[in-house]
Symmetry: C2
Subunit: 388 residues, 2 copies
């Protein structure tokens, strides 16, 4: 992957998590980058989310660095805002920029005090380690229950785009999700970045679910430092929007494939709804149904659960017009059971990639894509003892 | 339990489910009973739900019998309405009443044809078996993944109330749930039954969740045949409403305690919200969070997940005003971590009864009770292979 020009990366083990793996990451843009961000819509949100929102506003979208830690969400703690603020201030001083040009991000357990001294002590080593090559080190340092590092990139002419993300549980983004950082070296104004990010998020992070729980720390940032010297015109910006969306979809799907305990990526397509909003509601209801997700875990072609979940979506549709395909096999037509080769379909459902097509007969043009994962015993095992 | 006067019960094995356990149940009122029913709000609903709704309307709430089968939901099948209609017609003929005085109910797998001949052939034996004592046989015949039979009763003066219900999964009632039949021998008009049932359901079945999935077959009926000869005045009706609500709450809690794979009944109390509706939304969000439910499975006092789930409820509240008690132990005060004895609380969470109190400081008078269960590996095991 060719990385965008003008960014440096570093990571260290600061001692925030018990396991001795890097838990503090840093992304620095040589020249301040223009930036846009989307954050969790959870009413309860973490100190770094509040501070990042405030910093972006105060700096009018000018960002020098992103400081990210894993192992502690810095949420619902007494010292949360102090820790986030003092970390940004100390880093800003060393980078000789304004504190509002630093965006903090945290992920990990909620309600446990984060020791700010650990971050302050680690900063010198973190800065010493900065390199244009250490992109994957940051992507690795922010992993929590993730089993796989998640990165993605695209090139559009001379413009490069590279993104990293993390997340495996508490994944049901609404306007944003988990942590994700997408960098480009194009010259882009904050208002264009905002449009690009909103459009990309709506097709990617807002279309995935692992467990229907929206995190308190979700943050997705798009940075553009202009280091490529390429200033896209309107048409070029559309190509960049397409490429950023592809990167965001790629990253979001990696999160779902790495969903806690998941063995399968489930792609849900809804067509024939009245509009895209209705289609998305139906897709989301199917994606969040534990009964659909456990059936897929067991390779059980129990399409009645898909129909029932759609019926709970709040969208009005006629049961008699519903067609359902499971792995390309028609299992339900006009709301009724189709004959199908059950052992054959069960075998097809053993694939790591499963596909559900939910179609409503008629003239409706509404459609939606959504991604989820199967729901296995391992999810329970992971989450029954995450904290201890 | 003293059963209401004037009802008879029967059950047989009709061969609808594979396991040779009774799968067809019958409740007959000696004199036609007045009745009210609430049914699933799922857009997709089963033939017996549609037919019961139509019969109640046509008969103006006069019910002679309830015919219930387990092992097949009679939903999303070609012959569904024919099977439900012909069963009611045949039974009505034998009981010498109008078909609309028979209410059918089904529970089991969706999308598999139900062989109506099995029911027709079983009717003679079913009728022969009618007895005033076989209440529990019907409660047992309608069990699917239930491990325990679920019944409850109360007496108010000379009036008796007895209810039975079933359900362990696909439980997230909205206006109704699963199957439940509550009988009384009071003299009550349909409009009073309607009011009593609506009030009772709102405090019971609409306040439970096992997995957040609302079934296609939910049906709850309240029958009053007047056999006690007691005609309650307005004050008496309030006492009956209270007793019916107690029966409904008792039945609903039994469903949750028997939730698929559940080892614990979790009671959630929300106080201090603006109004009861907001309180219910918060309680429901906590009850439906897989992360809260898995933490309880692991006896992990991870209250951050409770706070996060509440933050996703769509209700506006100030994080700084939240107090959370877990098993009577204050774990969060003013939105921040409290010091508590973690091994002690973990031990307390091993109890089969867990309690979450979510309070918002201030003058809000809104409150709600809600019940859910823990989420264990066993739920996945049960649901990954329910159909096959």
């Amino acid at each position: 992957m060719n990385l965008p020009l003008g960014y440096k990366y570093s990571s260290v083990y600061a001692g925030i998590r018990k396991a001795e793996k890097d838990d503090l990451g840093l992304i620095v843009s040589d020249l301040p980058a223009n930036a846009a961000g989307v954050f969790t819509q959870n009413r309860v949100c973490a100190a770094p989310v509040k501070l990042s929102r405030a910093h972006l506003k105060k700096s009018h979208g000018s960002v020098k660095a992103v400081l990210v830690n894993a192992g502690n969400a810095n949420c619902a703690t007494k010292t949360g805002m102090d820790v986030a603020t003092s970390s940004c201030n100390a880093l800003a001083k060393r980078l000789k920029v304004d504190p509002e040009q630093i965006l903090p991000a945290s992920t990990g357990v909620i309600g446990v005090e984060l020791d700010g001294q650990l971050i302050l002590k680690a900063l010198p080593q973190l800065l010493l380690g900065l390199s244009g090559e250490r992109f994957e080190d940051v992507a690795t340092a922010m992993m929590t229950t993730d089993l796989a590092m998640k990165i993605s990139g695209r090139e559009i002419g001379r413009v490069r785009i590279a993104g990293m993300t993390k997340g495996a549980g508490m994944i049901h983004p609404h306007m944003a999700t988990t942590l994700g950082f997408i960098m480009t070296d194009a010259v882009l104004e904050p208002r264009h970045l905002r449009d690009i990010l909103d459009a990309a998020v709506n097709q990617s992070y807002n279309r995935i679910s692992v467990d229907g729980d929206t995190s308190t720390n979700d943050t997705l940032l798009l940075l553009a430092n202009g280091a490529s010297g390429t200033k896209p015109n309107k048409k070029d910006r559309e190509a960049i929007l397409g490429a950023v969306t592809e990167v965001a979809v790629d990253l979001a799907k990696q999160i779902v494939r790495d969903g806690e305990g998941a063995r399968k990526l489930v792609s849900i397509y809804v067509v024939g709804a009245e509009d895209d909003e209705d289609a998305t509601k139906i897709a989301r209801a199917i994606a969040n149904s534990p009964l659909v997700k456990t059936a897929i875990a067991g390779s059980d072609p129990n399409w009645g659960r898909i129909l029932s979940a759609a019926g709970n979506s709040g969208v009005a549709f006629s049961q008699r017009k519903v067609n359902i395909d499971f792995q390309g096999v028609a299992v339900c037509h006009g709301g009724l059971a189709m004959e199908f080769d059950e052992p054959d379909l069960k075998a097809k459902l053993d694939s790591p990639d499963c596909e559900i097509l939910f179609g409503i007969q008629g003239k409706g043009k509404g459609k939606a894509r959504f991604w989820t994962c199967d729901f296995t015993e391992k999810y329970i095992e992971i989450n029954a003892s995450y904290r201890t």
